[in-house]
């Protein structure tokens, strides 16, 4: 069974981004970039399925600029077998990425696509669901436990009230939540090995996909600032403030 894992290059989760003063976007020049943390969990899960003998091949895919090759190498250092870069400088929105992934699914024929539930830059939380819809496949989003067997996926999902377990026919799309697994650290030998793994490059044109954006960002602004309030000395003073100043209790 082949598993496809899309990975996105994003601003590292430890970086607090700054809005550009001209309001055109956030400043990502000279900022540390990493693999989207949810995608890292997706790669780890796929690799564990391969190690367990369930999957036979793990293919990492990234869509975007040439530097996404680093993200693919990082996925291969965790254990993905090969990488595919869909190389484009165009702004990619989730629908466009879902269409690119659809074209790759038709080409590669995976039994499962495991992806992060959301990217921590645009916080869209759409691509996996969109891909599933375009393929006519079932989906299990926000997964905290995944088992694949006998042409079926059994997935436990984190939902607002707790957990639910779904059974899906394969092929299917699964999106990862935080507690699915803890990704391993790539070891130096595996990082070296990853450099030698195959990495193919394609373009949206070659896949026959129109990636034109549907949404235009008119401006990007700082959120309303919340200023630090005051320190209180003890519980009595806190009670006084909550009762008499804030009037919330």
């Amino acid at each position: 069974m082949k598993i496809l894992v899309p990975v996105k290059r994003v601003v590292d989760y430890n970086v607090k981004v700054r809005v550009k003063s001209d309001g055109t976007g956030v400043d990502i020049a000279n900022v540390k970039m990493s693999m989207n943390p949810f995608d890292e969990i997706a790669v780890e899960e796929a690799v564990r399925l391969k190690e367990a003998g369930v999957a036979t091949e793990v293919v990492a895919v990234s869509c975007g600029v040439a530097a996404c090759q680093e993200t693919l190498r990082a996925a291969m250092a965790i254990g993905a077998d090969r990488g595919i870069l869909v190389d484009t400088d165009a702004e990619l929105q989730p629908l466009a990425v879902a269409k690119l992934l659809k074209a790759l699914c038709e080409k590669e024929g995976p039994q499962a696509v495991i992806c992060g539930k959301q990217a921590i830059d645009d916080d869209a939380n759409q691509t996996g669901q969109m891909l599933a819809a375009l393929m006519g496949w079932p989906q299990a989003t926000f997964a905290s436990k995944v088992a694949l067997a006998d042409g079926k996926a059994t997935v436990t999902r984190e939902i607002d009230g707790g957990l639910e377990t779904l059974e899906l026919s394969l092929p299917a799309v699964i999106t990862t939540d935080l507690r699915l697994n803890e990704p391993r650290y790539a070891t130096l030998p595996n990082i070296m090995k990853a450099k030698k793994k195959p990495l193919d490059t394609l373009t949206p044109d070659a896949l026959g996909v129109d990636v034109a954006p549907r949404l235009t960002t008119l401006s990007v602004a700082e959120p309303p600032k919340r200023s630090a309030g005051e320190r209180v000395a003890d519980v009595a003073q806190l009670m006084d403030k909550l009762k008499n100043v804030a009037k919330v209790i």
Binding site: V26, M130, L163, A228, V235
Partner: protein, 310 residues
């Protein structure tokens, strides 16, 4: 303009998130229809029909809508999408699951998690864990939108819109529900609570979390929340998590106990009206957003606070 709102419900009642979503639809303006898809969902339909601003309720009742599976719900919405300029759902685990499927099937973009309506085609949404607010304009004929519920005040009820039964779409049979483990609680729902008591890794264990925070929450009639660290450490179940990828909350009062305040956590609670932080580390980032900060040993002051509330 005509707007279709996908209701979130449990057949017997409407979830509060639907009320905020109808409020967002009112900001867009136009005829508002609410789609209730379920099984034996007459009570939920009646509740939707009573909401202020709703002009019609569409009721699709069939066994294959019982579990609210994304594949079947999306197909139903798409089958009835003709004539609507906007399709809305709350940005809850249901809306986030179903609506991107609807958008892809209609070949349009989705606008996720809007916090403001600027015009019928222009919306504001947070990006980068709420560290930036993007104003985006959609060029699509149909705007498919999820709504951040805390940004829109719930509509009231008192209306009496007609309820129209609509045909169910075919059962796609792609997935099935095996079971649910829902957290049982007498407390208010985290997303709609007026007061939230939230705990982090500073509590040290699940036993401490419950022993210290439950009595305080009882006194305040509060919901209980947690940081990712506390959930990862197994103190409490996943649905307690407040943050960028957990629940987004905006209560009147948020009391953060032993939470350091990672940006991902702040993203989920910084719109609260009043924030109280209790932490022994004076440098903890949580103090940068707190209205009232108490630098102290939580094991000492939390019981004191509980006692002071009488």
């Amino acid at each position: 303009m005509a707007i279709l709102v996908l209701a979130e419900h449990d057949n017997a009642s409407l979830k509060a998130a639907t009320l905020n979503t109808v409020a967002a639809a009112q900001k867009i303006g136009g005829d508002i229809h609410v789609l209730v898809a379920g099984n034996g969902c007459d009570a939920a339909c009646a509740a939707a029909a009573a909401l202020t601003g709703v002009s019609k309720v569409l009721c699709a009742a069939a066994p294959h809508y019982e579990a609210q599976l994304a594949e079947n719900l999306a197909a139903l919405v798409v089958a009835h999408a003709a004539g609507y300029t906007h399709i809305l759902a709350p940005a809850t685990s249901l809306g986030k699951n179903v609506l991107p499927r609807v958008a892809a099937l209609l070949d349009v973009a989705q606008i996720s998690d809007i916090v403001a309506v600027e015009a019928a085609d222009t919306f504001v949404r947070p990006i980068y864990a709420g560290n930036a607010m993007a104003k985006v304009k959609s060029a699509d004929a149909v705007k498919v939108i999820t709504v951040r519920t805390t940004a829109f005040e719930a509509v009231g009820s008192g209306g009496s819109a007609p309820v129209e039964a609509i045909a169910a779409a075919a059962d796609l049979g792609l997935s099935k529900l095996v079971g649910r483990e829902l957290t049982k609680s007498e407390r208010p729902e985290l997303g709609a609570a007026k007061v939230i008591v939230s705990g982090g890794r500073g509590l040290g264990s699940g036993e401490n979390y419950h022993a210290l925070l439950e009595p305080l929450a009882d006194k305040l009639g509060a919901a209980l929340g947690a940081s990712r660290a506390a959930v990862d450490a197994g103190y409490v179940p996943n649905d307690y998590q407040v943050g960028q990828t957990g629940k987004i909350v905006a209560p009147q009062l948020y009391i953060a106990v032993g939470i350091s305040g990672a940006i991902q956590h702040l993203a989920g609670m910084k719109d609260s009206k009043v924030i109280v932080a209790i932490n022994k580390d004076p440098e903890a980032p949580i103090f940068q957003v707190a209205d009232y900060g108490l630098v102290a040993d939580l094991f000492q002051v939390v019981p004191e606070l509980t006692a002071a509330l009488g």
